[in-house]
Symmetry: C2
Subunit: 218 residues, 2 copies
DNA sequence: CGTTTCATTGAGTGCGATCAAGCCGTGTGG
DNA sequence: CCACACGGCTTGATCGCACTCAATGAAACG
């Protein structure tokens, strides 16, 4: 890899999250809601890409508490570890279509080896960036800010008028470092304040983007 | 880079933190305590390595609160960003000797281009791993656990009988997501419990490793 | 219609933040 | 040498937010 190529990788990380370029032959697999895609400590020689549905990666802390690594949506690559084994496990949040590719197959694509390596590196770099953002989120002062920020991010990612929460309250709580009760209370409060509007407990609509932003910054 | 080389990179991340392999020509620079090494949003075309001393990277959150990215000690590489600009700034915690190398110089080393790329990637991967650990730390329940875990990590990294804290209480607090008062209280408490022993407020000794570990896991 | 699972709501408590003094080592100048 | 100021750290008192425990509500399923 030349340094020019290297800089291209860096530049790529500023691009939107969806990973283009993994249009290599991959086996399309279906996973049912709740099904495990790979386990913690399992050997990591496969790379995954969400075609349809949502995925979460989790990990059991030494204290028994569950940590959520991240959520992945259509277009996202996941399962790339920095070691030989998966340090998180991955589960389907709903019925999913996942493209699965063997690492070794990628490397044998010969024609343009750089492309593959770049993709992998770019994915790692992006993962780092997202983890740092998550860290920032966890340090936010109040539970309200956390939840508001989470909903806003999600709405931005999917970009429709209304957004469907792909995960339950427990997953939100684990991701935000809160309890399920607190998440519930904050959702109720945000709704009472007229900032978001829920219909059912999985569909919501942003009613006041500026109001939410003010909560987060202030 | 072949895939074999790629796997070697991955394997390297399990190795101790000190980055071997950056024995490329670098300019040795001295920084005084508190001096800025690079600024947030500055262009990131230099790579740094701690020769002597300690460095912290920081970042201002949107809410004005200071987030500490990480602390770096002798042997550690820092300043590698995933984008074109530094997303954190770096400051010397004490008088430091830093080896500074231009990225472009590295890539022109031609002879074994892989080595450089691998080093950079390995550093990125390690950074990701450390960030994930930090995330886990921030989610620990109590302030006591956080402080205990921090002191234990530090003692392990330096490995002597007694350890010198390279940073002040405010830096610890920012890193752990606590206030300076709480950090102080916890230090006092850990000492009262006979788990650590401070002489002055920067030198300490682990008195009961098992006791500390129990705190963290429990 | 009961059962199960998930979310909401309520009451009470505890931990860490906040506000406010005090303490101590260090440096400075008389 | 002392007096003083200054910054970093510690200690104290109080308060509020989020956790805990517990009960209720609401869908989804057989």
């Amino acid at each position: 890899m030349t340094f020019a190529a290297l800089n291209t990788v860096f530049a790529d990380t500023a691009a939107p999250r969806r990973d283009a370029g993994l249009d290599v032959p991959g086996v399309r697999m279906a996973f049912a809601a709740g099904e495990e895609i790979y386990a913690q400590d399992e050997e990591a020689d496969l790379i995954y890409r969400v075609i349809e549905g949502s995925v979460r990666t989790t990990r059991l802390g030494s204290d028994g508490r569950r940590q959520i690594g991240d959520f992945y949506y259509p277009g996202d690559v996941f399962g790339l570890e920095t070691g030989a084994e998966h340090r998180f496990s991955a589960e389907a949040l709903c019925d999913c279509q996942i493209s699965v590719t063997r690492r070794a197959v990628l490397s044998r694509q010969g024609d343009d080896g750089f492309r593959v390596e770049r993709m992998i590196w770019a994915a790692t770099a992006r993962e780092l960036q997202r983890t740092q953002e998550h860290l920032l989120l966890l340090r936010r002062r109040t539970a309200c800010e956390k939840v508001a920020s989470f909903l806003l991010d999600l709405a931005d990612r999917f970009g429709g008028e209304t957004t469907t929460l792909p995960m339950g309250r427990q997953d939100m709580a684990d991701y935000l470092g809160l309890t399920i009760e607190t998440v519930s209370r904050m959702v109720t409060q945000l709704q009472a304040d007229g900032l978001v509007e829920f219909s059912g407990n999985r569909r919501f609509r942003i009613r006041s983007r500026s109001g939410l932003s003010r909560l987060i910054v202030a």
